[in-house]
């Protein structure tokens, strides 16, 4: 029999980063987990119209060990790295127990916080630093023994030892939403808070969908426009690159020709937490109109480490095929 060495084990001195990143994709109940030598990949999806994923690099952990599973015999191909489904809400609540001393963790989870969450998450850094500065050590251990086994989390803090075994469910291989990064129709980078403000503003008319319109820019057309029509009215937020400001809202824009597409508004709401936690967002449309939002999240990893670590949270949203809302670029006529 093989020696009992866990296939995967990692130690984190603070679950704050993990909680922050996982919360960004927590619009779904279950998450798909993929373990590799480089880190952990968590992904969530809602139907096949929206998908989000975050990669927790092994550098975020104090220690990280992964033993790839052995093939059954030398002739076989090495088996796939493990992937399974877990209940994401249970994982978040469990990690919450660990950061009980962290005031931020007691906020409502599951709702879509906006600015409030952003501010709270910003202040989370100070609490964690205080803990470290005072030499208060808490330890959080993750481990996974292999197919069928539970994902175990073992935490010790303030005199209490907590052990959690998360049931791992078999996952169907889900095709990622394809995104053609080599064939973009729009790419822009802006500070995440502007996107958050825009979405919050659009939300006030209670819309079913949001339309993204982009153009190279002219007197009559904005470079980027986010608009929505709802029962309570219409709203549009226009962005332009024509500004003398040193810090333009659209830090960069690539848009060779006019294009637009619409997306279910619920998908944008699902990304609100990520918008609130991120510093910057890269918004891209590919030639099929698939929207990719890539959020850059700054993590304050330890005061000794001069460079702050960052992590990325990605959202992919499939456009609505609707002859009213969308005019797809690329000459493909909408079939009707």
């Amino acid at each position: 029999m093989a020696a009992i060495v866990p296939m995967f084990s990692a130690v984190a001195s603070s679950t704050r980063h993990i909680l922050l990143l996982l919360r960004c994709i927590s619009f779904a109940k279950k998450a798909l987990v993929r373990i590799s030598a480089e880190g952990l990949r968590f992904s969530t999806d809602e139907g096949s119209s929206i998908e989000a994923f975050v990669f927790l690099d092994k550098a975020l952990f104090t220690s990280y060990t992964y033993h790839a599973p052995e093939p059954a015999s030398s002739q076989d191909d090495p088996p796939e790295p493990p992937f399974f489904e877990i209940d994401l809400q249970s994982l978040l609540e469990t990690l919450n127990i660990f950061s009980l001393s962290d005031l931020t963790s007691s906020t409502r989870s599951g709702g879509y916080d906006d600015f409030a969450a952003h501010r709270l998450n910003r202040h989370a850094g100070m609490n964690a630093f205080t803990n470290h500065a005072m030499g208060v050590t808490g330890v959080c251990n993750f481990s996974y023994n292999g197919e069928g086994g539970a994902l175990s989390i073992h935490m010790f803090e303030s005199g209490v030892t907590t052990t959690c075994d998360l049931t791992t469910y078999e996952a169907d291989t889900v095709e990622d939403i394809p995104f053609n990064r080599d064939s973009l129709s729009v790419k822009t980078i802006m500070r995440a808070k502007f996107l958050l403000e825009a979405v919050t503003e659009l939300n006030s008319v209670n819309p079913a969908s949001m339309t993204v319109f982009a153009s190279p820019g002219s007197a009559s057309k904005p470079n980027l426009s986010l608009s929505a029509i709802g029962a309570l009215g219409t709203a549009a937020i226009d962005f332009t690159t024509a500004t003398s400001s040193e810090t333009p809202v659209l830090e960069s824009l690539y848009c060779p020709t006019e294009t637009s597409a619409s997306y279910p508004f619920a998908a944008l709401k699902a990304a609100q937490r990520a918008m609130a936690s991120a510093t910057k967002v890269s918004l891209r449309l590919d030639d099929e109109g698939v929207l990719s939002l890539q959020f850059l999240i700054e993590l304050e990893v330890g005061s000794s480490d001069g460079s702050g670590a960052v992590a990325f949270v990605d959202f992919r949203i499939v456009p609505l095929v609707d002859d009213e809302g969308a005019r797809e670029h690329g000459g493909e006529s909408t079939s009707e």
Binding site: K29, I86, D87, Q89, S90, E93, T94, N96, I97, L100, A150, S158, G159, V160, T161, T162, T163, C164, D165, L166, T167
Partner: protein, 369 residues
């Protein structure tokens, strides 16, 4: 019947009332020569029976009734009592008495507060005003100006209304019912067999925080195990609480999506006082907890030696709110049957403390699997 007392410690009484109000809406209050008892028996869930040494909350109290030991039994609604005590938060003095108005029996709370801070020195704004009126351009630091300004200050006090030291007297009436002896005769403290394990609980605020997370965990997942009442509505997560005679306490929860447990070690198991037991020394030897001591160990690993109860998460959270009072809490576990918590209020005033300890006793039923 008469009852009148000055409230010694409004803050303690407020926290105490809040803890009771978490359990139920109405309290049976029993007053007599020796002590004050508050009992809350809700329709469902945990009961609390408390005995308070009068000196903990009252001073200068008088009680008189036709019953033996001057016993008075009242039914007191807790929300109005809480509201009344809120007015007394910053009181200089507060007293409570049993009275009747328009033939309705009441507990009447008379609260004296100060309107604003009293100060001995004239405030700068007053002296500015004085200078303006008296017309002298001198700063009010010289004696001459002070005499003038204090005369003016008194005048200005009359003119502008009282600025310093103003007493406000607030009366809060709490409607109550006087209970006949027959009504309360049937109420008895729940009896339970000798507990298997008794242990001092860790910091209640920490325990409450973690328990609340467990309660949330038990409800988050579409957990088919979440018990439902007759209408099919989820009643609340059942947490499993266990302890052993080696200082270990364990809280666990199992759902389909996960199994989680938290372990405290190094807690104190208080020694039983054999004089308190029915059979004295023999009773001690045969006591269930003595036998439990032989099982399990201080590491908390292993399945032996645990006494377990299953409690409803939200009910448990409400019980734990008694942590706001501070004090030592001893938990007595009757395996698979019941949990009894003894909360000993901290004695604040040593010289008055002699004669009585204040204890709240919570009786919590265990759910079967």
């Amino acid at each position: 019947m008469r009852f009148r007392a000055e409230i010694r410690n409004v803050s303690t009484l407020t926290k105490f009332t809040a803890s009771l109000a978490s359990i139920g809406h109405i309290a049976w209050v029993r007053l007599d020569d020796k002590d004050v008892r508050f009992t809350v028996i809700p329709e469902q869930g945990t009961q609390v029976w408390s005995v308070i040494s009068p000196n903990t909350i009252f001073q200068d109290w008088t009680i008189q009734s036709a019953a033996p030991n001057n016993t008075i039994n009242l039914e007191v609604p807790l929300a109005p009592l809480q509201r009344a005590l809120r007015s007394a938060q910053n009181a200089v003095a507060a007293n409570i008495r049993l009275t009747k108005k328009d033939n309705i029996p009441l507990l009447s709370l008379t609260i004296t507060t100060m309107a604003m801070h009293s100060s001995q020195q004239p405030t700068s704004s007053l002296s500015d005003r004085d200078n303006h009126f008296s017309g002298n351009g001198r700063a009010p630091s010289t004696n001459g100006a002070n005499d003038t300004s204090s005369a003016f200050r008194e005048a200005s006090v009359d003119f502008f209304g009282p600025k310093a030291d103003r007493e406000i007297v607030i009366t809060q009436d709490i409607p109550i019912r006087v209970l006949a002896p027959a009504t309360v005769e049937g109420l008895h403290e729940p009896r339970c067999r000798e507990p298997d394990v008794h242990i001092v609980l860790p910091n209640l605020n920490q325990l409450k925080g973690i328990s609340e997370r467990y309660t949330k965990l038990g409800m988050t997942t579409s957990n088919p195990r979440t018990p439902r009442n007759n209408s099919g509505i989820a009643k609340g997560a059942k947490l499993e609480l266990s302890a052993n005679m080696h200082g270990c306490l364990r809280l666990s929860l199992k759902t389909d999506a996960m199994g989680i447990s938290s372990l405290w070690t190094g807690l104190e198991n208080p020694e039983l006082d054999s004089t308190q037991l029915a059979e004295g020394e023999d009773g001690l030897a045969n006591h269930p907890s003595t036998r439990m001591k032989e099982l399990g160990d201080a590491s908390g690993q292993g399945e032996e030696g645990w006494a377990t109860v299953r409690i409803e998460g939200r009910d448990w959270g409400r019980v734990l709110s008694v942590g706001r009072l501070g004090g030592r809490v001893i938990a007595c576990f009757c395996d698979e049957h019941a949990l009894i918590l003894y909360v000993f209020l901290p004695e604040e005033d040593e010289r008055e403390g002699g004669g009585g300890e204040s204890v709240l006793t919570y009786y919590i039923n265990s759910y079967s699997v």
